[in-house]
């Protein structure tokens, strides 16, 4: 049983959900989602946001029914102990993969924009103790980091006004020039930037009066959608579509136009500040996977954390270069899409039937 001291208030769900969603995708999703819908791709952000809201609702419907309500309990109830634990293990691997993607992509950005000679493993040695410190003890520390991960980089949103001087509204006109199918196809790509919410399946029991926290989860998702929409629209009036095809990190590219008397390149400052966003992301996923291992196999939480951090370290070192990072991102994206939009609804239905059957038996 989780003690009352370990729990956090429902409001924190807002920060947890947003912090889990806003990751490295934020820096360059604009040139990925426009593959099908071109200049109308910003509409698909809204559609993806609504889709994610539905998934959050589904998750809450499942989680509400159980005192212990987390993915492990649901899996065990639905599939029995063995298959359930096996699926939980796959879920852990997915969480670990997400953490790897975020951390490795961030280090790549540091390599490209700031320190080309940075050694990945040496950088990781600095970060791992920090991550371990955050995830090894109470959940409250993770929540604190997530809170800062939203609040601290918030002022970066103000810098989005600078590129507006160079905006050309004709780049996104006429609106709805693409078919609904194309926009939906783009939405399936946009969803990748919202994927982190699967961590909700793990931290749910740590929330006070958790069943009442659903509205905060939706607010958090709403905030993320709004932020993505703003960044996307600004990038789409700043770049034209053929320019976007060549840009890797569109959001970072927006900062290239900012020049201040005391600061020649704003990116350095921006990338450093974004570390808070990245940290909250990695920490949340790592904590969740350690927690799942602890709950499933009974391994001590701290030991699980150490083992997982070693795996994280190795995974980050193995994938190198633009190509390696791209493979990571694509794989995580595909798995995440299947998990969120196919596996979770299916799980919801099976779980629902299973519960009805149980009730009738007893």
């Amino acid at each position: 049983m989780i003690s009352r001291d370990d729990k956090v208030s429902g409001l924190m769900v807002f920060f947890l959900i947003s912090a889990s969603q806003i990751g490295v995708g934020y820096l360059g999703f604009q040139s990925i989602i426009n593959k099908y819908a071109g200049h109308d791709a910003w509409i698909s952000i809204i559609i993806a946001g609504i889709g994610i809201s539905i998934i959050i609702w589904t998750m809450y419907q499942m989680l509400k029914n159980d005192e212990q309500g987390d993915i492990i309990a649901i899996h065990q109830l639905t599939y029995g102990k063995w298959i359930g634990n096996f699926l939980t293990l796959i879920f852990t691997i997915y969480l670990l993969l997400m953490a790897t993607v975020v951390l490795r992509t961030y280090i790549e950005i540091v390599q490209v924009w700031m320190f080309p000679h940075l050694k990945v493993w040496a950088m990781l040695l600095l970060l791992l103790p920090l991550i371990y410190y955050t995830i090894s003890d109470q959940f409250r520390i993770v929540v604190g980091v997530c809170f800062l991960g939203i609040v601290y980089p918030f002022f970066l949103n103000l810098t989005l006004f600078f590129p507006l001087n160079y905006a050309d509204i004709t780049y996104i006109l006429p609106i709805m020039d693409h078919t609904i199918t194309e926009i939906m196809q783009s939405s399936s790509l946009a969803v990748l930037n919202f994927m982190g919410i699967s961590a909700l399946l793990v931290f749910y029991p740590f929330i006070q009066e958790s069943h009442k926290s659903q509205k905060y989860a939706h607010y958090g998702n709403f905030y993320t959608t709004g932020l993505y929409l703003a960044v996307c629209l600004i990038a789409y009036v700043f770049y034209n579509q053929s320019e976007l095809e060549e840009v890797i990190w569109a959001t970072l590219g927006l900062w290239k136009i900012i020049e201040m008397p005391f600061m020649e390149r704003f990116e350095f400052f921006g990338i450093a500040t974004l570390f808070f966003t990245i940290l909250s992301n990695v920490v949340l996923f790592m904590w969740a996977s350690a927690r799942v291992i602890h709950r499933t196999f009974g391994v001590a939480h701290k030991k699980a954390a150490v083992v997982l951090l070693i795996i994280l370290f190795i995974a980050c070192v193995i994938f190198s270069g633009r190509e390696g990072v791209n493979i990571l991102n694509d794989t995580a994206g595909k798995i995440g899409l299947v998990l969120l939009f196919i596996y979770i609804p299916v799980l919801f239905v099976i779980n629902f039937i299973r519960r009805k059957v149980r009730k009738d038996v007893s």
């Binding site: 490209v112 924009w113 320190f115 000679h117 940075l118 050694k119 040496a122 950088m123 040695l125 600095l126 791992l128 103790p129 371990y132 160079y166 050309d168 509204i169 004709t170 780049y171 006109l173 006429p174 020039d177 770049y239 034209n240 053929s242 320019e243 060549e246 290239k256 136009i257 020049e259 020649e264 390149r265 990116e267």
Partner: protein
């Protein structure tokens, strides 16, 4: 219990030890390039000239100028480094010149390196020179350094003069978009001093024609919304100068007949600064009418010229594309040279200065 602290410090020290070897760029041991010039030479190679300032104790700036030939920008950099006392870096790059011959061949390969480099910002000014860029750079006489000299020259001409907004970002957008052709300012040497002489018109990344800067006032009105411009009007009866000009541009497209019809609506407001007639206050509507007629004529002539050259620096295609769902690129390209484009000017003189 202490194990974790030991591990932490071991991690920290190893990490720092191995990252200490990272190459550093100490400010006293590098030269920051501010101005670059590229000239076409006889073969397929180019001559690159770079300017790196050195700040002297008395608040003065001394410019080091290096020049050599090579095939690519960075091959050139290697040769220049062989001449420089300190390493040359481009993080502070402000102005890049291309000579006309190179611009005629196309400059995309010499813009590309700037877009790829994260240390170069989007506000770099690009320009074409009539003669050799080396001569132009050498002709500057200034105590604030050539980088500052050119940056200031560009800046005030963009803000208050006839030069439209231009920099690396704008050039890149126009050149990459399939709808607009870029423009760049063009310099020449007049009386041994550099002078902003005209606006270079491009077709894709290739220079095709130029427009004298003194006639560029109408071009600027057509190109963007002006916030502080000026223009002159002359006729048989009087000369007049309008300052503090603000303008709004709006392009309307009507899908008529084969090609459709484009109307450019211009709203211009300004203040009289110089007037050779008498008492303009009584005759404001008549003067406004004269100006309107003059501006319309000039603008239509300018657009006609662009159509003859088959270039679109004003981005009319972009406006058509954004307001027409049946837009077809192929079709537009065919009809563009013959497309009827009319200009509608609404000029208003809001003040006459301190005299009636």
């Amino acid at each position: 219990m202490y194990l974790k602290y030991v591990v932490f410090f071991v991690f920290l020290i190893t990490s720092l030890l191995f990252n200490v070897q990272m190459p550093t760029k100490v400010i006293d041991m590098i030269q920051m390039i501010t101005v670059v010039g590229y000239d076409a030479t006889e073969q397929d190679t180019l001559r690159g000239t770079v300017v790196a300032p050195k700040y002297l104790p008395q608040g003065k700036v001394e410019d080091f100028i290096y020049t050599d030939t090579a095939d690519t920008v960075y091959e050139n950099r290697v040769k220049l480094n062989a001449k420089a006392t300190e390493r040359l870096l481009s993080g502070k790059l402000k102005v890049v010149f291309y000579n006309r011959e190179l611009a005629e061949r196309g400059i995309k390969n010499f813009v590309e390196f700037m877009r790829r480099d994260p240390s170069i910002g989007g506000k770099v000014y690009l320009a074409v020179t009539e003669g050799s860029t080396l001569e132009l750079i050498n002709s500057v006489q200034t105590s604030k350094g050539r980088g500052m000299f050119f940056t200031d020259l560009f800046e005030h001409n963009i803000k208050h003069g006839n030069l439209p907004q231009t920099n690396l970002k704008e050039f890149e957008s126009d050149w990459q978009s399939e709808t607009t052709d870029p423009i760049l300012p063009m310099f020449s040497i007049e009386n041994k001093k550099p002078e902003l002489q005209s606006i270079a018109l491009f077709d894709g990344d290739k220079y095709v024609d130029k427009l004298p800067i003194k006639d560029a006032d109408v071009f600027k009105l057509l190109y963007e919304n002006v916030s502080d411009g000026s223009f002159q009007h002359k006729n048989d009866k009087y000369y007049i100068s309008i300052e503090n000009v603000e303008s709004d541009k709006d392009v309307a497209f009507e899908a008529k007949k084969e090609s459709g019809e484009v109307t450019v609506n211009l709203q211009v407001r300004g203040v009289i600064r110089e007037f050779t007639g008498r008492k303009p206050t009584n005759r404001l509507p008549a003067i406004e009418k004269d100006i309107q007629k003059d501006l319309t004529q000039k603008a239509e002539k300018l657009i006609k010229r662009f159509q003859e050259l088959n270039i679109d620096p004003l981005g009319i295609e972009g406006d058509v594309k954004s307001s027409n769902r049946n837009y077809d690129k192929q079709h537009f390209k065919e009809v563009y040279p013959e497309m009827p484009i009319s200009v509608n000017v609404d000029a208003r003189l809001t003040e006459t200065g301190t005299r009636r």
